[in-house]
Symmetry: C2
Subunit: 339 residues, 2 copies
């Protein structure tokens, strides 16, 4: 038994072929005669040979690795997407390099550079709002790239996602139809989160169409945490007890808001309507079940894998823009506005 890890040369020697043939046997097996192939495979097995990814990457300029940077992995909706992205990659023998930006554009840029220097074959980012240098750096490396979670037909880049403005429209329209006119917003930070921003814009636009406006004071931006949402609703209701509808940036925030309403003895949806966003797996099983919008996270994740894989294989940098739809799901937390 070798004491150091065996290399392709050891395999070649043992199988009595050249290293080139071993390499072919690994990468293009049908280019080598079956009996030789067998000999090589036996040698590989006997030696416990594992090819060196680094050497392969250096020589072939391919790492079979794809990078993804999400704002946070610690959010079930992103992890669903990643889970599916990952499964798709694994099936094709690719591995996922995962990083998170913590909703910071600068941090995202740093991560992008780090991943790029690791020689990833493709990359997926969330949203369309990035540090300008992000695009620059990626383009220099000439690798497939896609903005996930967002759909913009006019984008200069590939995207796979849905239209957040439309989603906001639907939410607002639903509430309008129920007769609401006094709104409060608990949103994620919009400055570094175009999804949050766009959803809000969608709501705003729909309200404006019927001459409604949400005053600044009834819009709170906060971290996506239940606790923050809880205190935000208290704050909002302190500022204006007449609010009848609260749109939350995602389901987690909505759960926090729900708990605050409960604490105040305000009944949902009779006195107050609350909406979420994402339709996390547990939502329909909660009581009251949230009215929310479905984020097709799993499908987007799988699609991203497919997109990247095909673009890598075909060595193309073609732009594609894929639109998914996000449907409003009306459940138990929205109802007619109280008199």
């Amino acid at each position: 038994m070798q004491n150091k890890t065996p290399t392709i040369a050891d395999v070649a020697e043992k199988a009595e072929v050249s290293t080139a043939t071993v390499s072919r046997c690994l990468n293009l097996p049908d280019k080598v005669k079956p009996e030789v192939r067998e000999r090589i495979n036996k040698a590989i097995h006997d030696l416990g040979y594992v090819p060196s990814g680094a050497a392969r990457a250096l020589a072939s300029r391919r790492t079979y690795t794809v990078g993804a940077i999400v704002p946070t992995i610690d959010n079930s909706i992103f992890s669903e997407a990643i889970q599916h992205l990952q499964s798709g990659l694994t099936q094709a023998n690719y591995t996922l390099l995962l990083a998170n930006s913590g909703y910071s554009l600068d941090e995202e840029l740093r991560e992008v550079k780090s991943l790029l220097s690791r020689g990833i074959d493709g990359i997926v980012l969330v949203g369309e709002m990035h540090h300008p240098k992000v695009y620059e750096a990626i383009e220099q490396h000439k690798i497939p790239y896609v903005n996930l979670w967002t759909y913009n037909p006019k984008s200069r880049y590939s995207c796979i996602g849905f239209d957040h403005i439309k989603a906001g429209n639907q939410l607002a329209q639903h509430l309008l139809d129920l007769g609401h006119s006094k709104f409060g917003i608990i949103s994620g930070f919009q400055e570094t989160n175009d999804r949050a921003l766009l959803r809000f814009k969608g709501i705003q636009k729909t309200l404006k169409a019927v001459d409604l406006e949400i005053p600044e004071s009834l819009i709170i931006e906060c971290r996506y945490s239940v606790a923050k949402a809880n205190s935000s609703l208290h704050e909002l209701l302190d500022r204006d007890p007449d609010i009848t509808a609260i749109c939350c940036g995602n389901d987690v925030l909505a759960i926090g808001a729900l708990s605050a309403a409960r604490e105040r003895g305000i009944s949902v949806p009779d006195q107050l309507s609350i909406t979420g966003f994402d339709n996390m797996e547990i939502i329909p099983y909660l009581s009251p079940a949230l009215t929310t919008v479905n984020s097709p996270s799993k499908r987007m994740g799988s699609h991203a894998a497919k997109y990247l894989l095909s673009h890598i294989e075909n060595k193309t940098l073609d732009i594609e823009r894929i639109e998914y739809t996000a449907e409003l799901i009306v459940r138990e937390t929205t109802a007619k506005a109280p008199k």
Copy 2:
């Protein structure tokens, strides 16, 4: 402007030094004179030079990459841990290679091999139950390794986690103290999940001490999904309507069970006590708030990063076994057993 991506040689030429000096400037900056360093940094910046991770890995036998394989990332408790593992790594300029096994030992082995061939500098796995070849493969590569999420003082391997048997004990004792004697179990699949198995064993052992036994028919193993848990509780209650306490394998299952109880008009905790596991962020904000056990996922994740980093830097393979404690958190879903 170069047309192809610049290499260290281009930087060296531009800065009028040797490639060795550039390399030193990158890796051991204080070994090079400040004015030279400045010249090199300028060249790097002007050229837009990004070092090749593959070449560096091949030459130095270090990838600054750590692998983690979790059963599924799509579970907030794992993603919390990963999030913290990852932050710890990023701070030290390491990157996380993430894979998931889908609770399959064979798939886990495959992933381990794949990660190993990518030359990771360290690896973390969840639980202690792995394919025997997993240990073999990792040991051959001589890299730091830790079993997360589990604590076993007698393990041959490093571990960072808590004692699942104790956790099960606490849960059972709590219910026993409340006078329950008719139990049902909704667990994850125990065959490939030692954490699930151990927790169950803990419950079983505590019950056995007072001569109680849970019949096979009142133990259901299922996937960690709300929907499965929902139908499992219905099943359990159909089999035996006299059950007064249900221990669920995790919070997600407990939420499903809660919803099934609600559907049946069974009030929790008056008629039925339900316990979860993990204490996910949203749990205390739900109504009723679950009685559960806190999994110190964030702390375990951070600790894993620290462990790996220090072992990599010190080139040691010393075994460490770190015990965290998982406390029972009594909330609103457990109460005295009904008469």
